[in-house]
């Protein structure tokens, strides 16, 4: 048991442990944790503890790392609420109406055209068509910034802005992105407004997001404790 190579093998363990500690990216650190597991399995086996080695290999290296990857994946996420642009009225219906007009061969009848627009209005009155309420550049900018901090950006879509505000208040999302019109000097300027609930995310976005015509504001949640 006092072979010289045992000392060299045991010396590998602090090296891998140091590598694991020095890693910044959580996923890379988990892979180094797997390497640490492999090295410790070798040490346990060389020192004669075969049962401990088997347990470390099965639980520590395989199951533990896999579960940690799933946990990190589901928790390192920033949920951004946006208003989903409204669906256009179904083109199929419009086509059918146009075909009906054609088949009747009353092309010059203005009356029917008026009827057509009236039918459209009554059919799709509930679907008020809103302008596109977010800019892809803003989303991409936020995604790039949070990726630097090893976060994923998850878009949560809401049908209207009231539900979006409610989702932020209920802490369903971490931030919301809305577009609003500013009337200044007689001209209308569209600006994107990003409301962040988590203070650390607000700090990160405020310091790094530099997209013109975008406002970043911090909205404290109902309870002061920050949830990530």
């Amino acid at each position: 048991m006092t072979d010289n190579y045992v000392y060299i093998i045991v010396a590998l363990l602090p090296i891998t442990a140091l590598m694991s500690v020095l890693q910044v990216n959580p996923y890379n650190a988990l892979i180094i944790r797997g390497i640490l597991g492999a090295v410790s399995v070798m040490i346990y086996a060389v020192l004669g503890a075969a049962d401990v080695a088997l347990t470390e290999a099965l639980v520590g290296t395989m199951l533990g790392v896999a579960l940690y990857v799933i946990a990190v994946r589901s928790s390192f996420v920033m949920r951004l609420g946006i208003v989903e642009p409204k669906l256009e009225p179904e083109p199929k219906l419009e086509l059918e109406l146009a075909l009906a007009i054609k088949q009747r061969k009353i092309r010059e009848s203005e009356e029917l055209h008026e009827n057509f627009s009236f039918i459209r209005q009554t059919l799709f009155r509930d679907f008020e068509i809103e302008p596109k309420t977010y800019l892809p550049e803003v989303i991409d900018g936020i995604r790039k910034i949070v990726k630097k901090h090893y976060l994923r950006l998850e878009l949560v879509k809401y049908p209207n802005s009231e539900m979006l505000e409610e989702a932020l208040a209920c802490e369903e999302v971490h931030a919301i992105c809305t577009r609003q019109e500013n009337h200044s000097n007689g001209s209308t300027v569209l600006s994107d407004r990003i409301s962040v609930r988590v203070h650390r995310l607000f700090e990160i976005l405020q310091s790094q997001l530099n997209i013109p015509d975008s406002i970043i504001e911090y909205k404290a949640g109902s309870n002061k404790e920050e949830k990530h």
Binding site: I9, G34, I35, M62, V69
Partner: protein, 83 residues
């Protein structure tokens, strides 16, 4: 025989350095696979050297199971990069 074993341990340091230096996650997975196989082979060598079949059986089990764990981990990380 000890010199062969020390050479094997030195060979184990190569993928370790690679895993430490390289920040690409797939390069690190490759290094992990390399280290997992190398440690199992070293264990098997020591088992034969000591004529201890208990360690030998364990090393064979770890050699097969370690690859299964590596595939599971690779699948999870692949799914992560897609979303």
């Amino acid at each position: 025989m000890d010199s062969i074993l020390i050479a094997m341990i030195l060979a184990l340091l190569i993928p370790m350095y690679e895993a430490c230096r390289n920040n690409d996650i797939w390069q690190q997975m490759l290094a992990f696979g390399s280290i997992a196989t190398k440690t199992s082979i070293i264990m098997l060598f020591i088992a034969v050297l000591r004529d201890d079949w208990m360690i030998g059986v364990i090393s064979v089990i770890i050699l097969s199971v370690g690859n299964a764990g590596l595939m599971l981990l690779a699948h999870l990380i692949k799914g992560l990069n897609e979303t």
